[in-house]
């Protein structure tokens, strides 16, 4: 049985913050406002993480900063019969499509261009909309965040493709492939944007949706 005092906020559909409480983002345990550390899992508690957006932006800029050389530097360096050919992400995609390798071309295009660019835009849009209270249709902002969090890590596919290709295509003088510096920049860019999305305090997104519903 739940007594009146605890069942009241549930009946009214309140968040922990609105009820003057703090919820742990790691395990869900509820505490009185002002508690510093979760009694269940030991994680630090914030009613809303004020530093969250600054971390989101810091990782976002770091990710964008390395995404530029990731596109300009070669991902792969191919040596065929003594001749060296560098290929960037876009260059590789064009080559695959030209050879009729549509599947590989489209996967690389999705993983290395569409997902990262989409993620930069989506995270910036979400962060700005939380910061300035921009109006977005109900739930759309949250769906967008889930997409970012779930899809973002799949960009790493291209780094694995590069690693396997380079490890296998080592046929002496005939043909050999080595990874280029673009692969390092790309891996860093994926890691930084993942950290950016992980820093997001999702509860702030829902606070905004709540405010819009009431007006």
């Amino acid at each position: 049985m739940v007594d009146m005092e605890t069942s009241e906020p549930i009946r009214r559909g309140l968040t922990a913050r609105q009820a003057g409480l703090v919820g742990c983002v790691r395990c869900g345990t509820v505490h009185r406002r002002g508690t510093k550390e979760c009694r269940t899992c030991g994680a630090r508690l914030h009613s809303r993480d004020r530093m969250s957006l600054q971390h989101v932006w810091a990782w976002w800029f770091a990710g964008l900063f390395v995404y530029i050389p990731a596109n300009l530097l070669p991902m792969l360096r191919t040596e065929i019969l003594g001749r060296t050919v560098d290929s960037t992400i876009i260059g590789g995609v064009i080559e695959f499509i030209a050879h009729g390798d549509y599947f590989v071309g489209i996967v690389v295009l999705l993983a290395s261009v569409a997902i990262p660019v989409g993620k930069f835009i989506a995270v910036a849009y979400l962060a700005l909309s939380v910061q300035f209270g921009l109006k977005i249709r109900k739930h759309r902002r949250h769906v967008l965040f889930e997409v970012v969090e779930f899809i973002g890590r799949w960009s790493m596919v291209d780094v694995f493709v590069v690693a396997l290709t380079a490890a296998l295509v080592q046929l002496g003088f005939v043909i050999s492939i080595v990874p280029g510096l673009g692969a390092v920049c790309f891996a860093l860019s994926v890691a930084f944007t993942m950290l950016s999305a992980q820093s997001f305090d999702t509860r702030a997104i829902w606070d905004r949706i709540e405010e819009q519903d009431q007006t």
Partner: protein
């Protein structure tokens, strides 16, 4: 309200909405009313299954790094690689950073997550007090979840295969099949752990 009163509540980690904790039957999931995040999802014999799958993951990973992964042949020349050989491709200067990422995401972190789960759950299963630092270890393993990329690696392998098939004939080594099984085992292992129930158990046995 005392802590005991507050223990009747759960705040959704994603959207902060308060819910009343109700007993959930094994096999069912309690989701947040507003954002549908899974809050409580107990499983029957959850601990036995989770420990067994974590041990399986460890064994499979040891096998997957020990055997050849893929091999390629063209005009009499042959090259085979293991997963470690793939990491070793990034062997100089800044490239080592990319090698470290691949090694972590493909080998180390999935293994660390499995070992962390064994470290957290095994003492509880044996009815002992939690191992030292068990809470921190379990928390860290949760944080690592998106960084362990077994399934993404297998998809990357498929793409590399399609890419190379036009160039030469490619064949699979034992490590490839072991890693495919590993991806499935990891997915079942992750689904078998209910965070909420595990935290409750960790606290109960620490207090006992």
């Amino acid at each position: 309200m005392t802590d005991t009163d507050l223990d009747r509540l759960i705040a959704c980690p994603t959207c902060d909405l308060l819910h009343e904790v109700a007993p959930v039957e094994p096999g069912y999931k309690a989701r947040c009313r507003r954002c549908h995040t899974v809050l409580i999802a107990p499983r029957r014999q959850s601990m036995d299954v989770a420990i067994a799958l974590a041990v399986t993951t460890t064994v499979l990973m040891i096998g997957a790094v020990s055997f050849p992964f893929l091999s390629m042949s063209q005009s009499g020349l042959q090259k085979s690689t293991s997963i470690l050989g793939m990491v070793a491709i990034f062997d100089h200067g800044l490239m080592i950073v990319a090698g470290a990422f691949v090694a972590m995401m493909v080998i180390a972190l999935p293994l660390v997550r499995a070992l962390a789960l064994i470290y957290t759950l095994l003492p509880l299963r044996l009815g002992r007090k939690p191992a030292p630092g068990a809470k921190r270890v379990f928390l860290f393993a949760q944080w690592l979840l998106p960084w362990a990329m077994t399934e993404i690696f297998i998809v990357g392998t498929m793409v590399a295969l399609v890419k190379l098939m036009g160039l030469a004939s490619v064949s699979f080594g034992p490590a490839f099949w072991l890693y495919c099984i590993l991806v499935v085992v990891v997915a079942f292992k992750d689904a078998s752990v209910c965070k909420w129930s595990t935290w409750k158990l960790l606290n109960q046995s620490a207090a006992a």
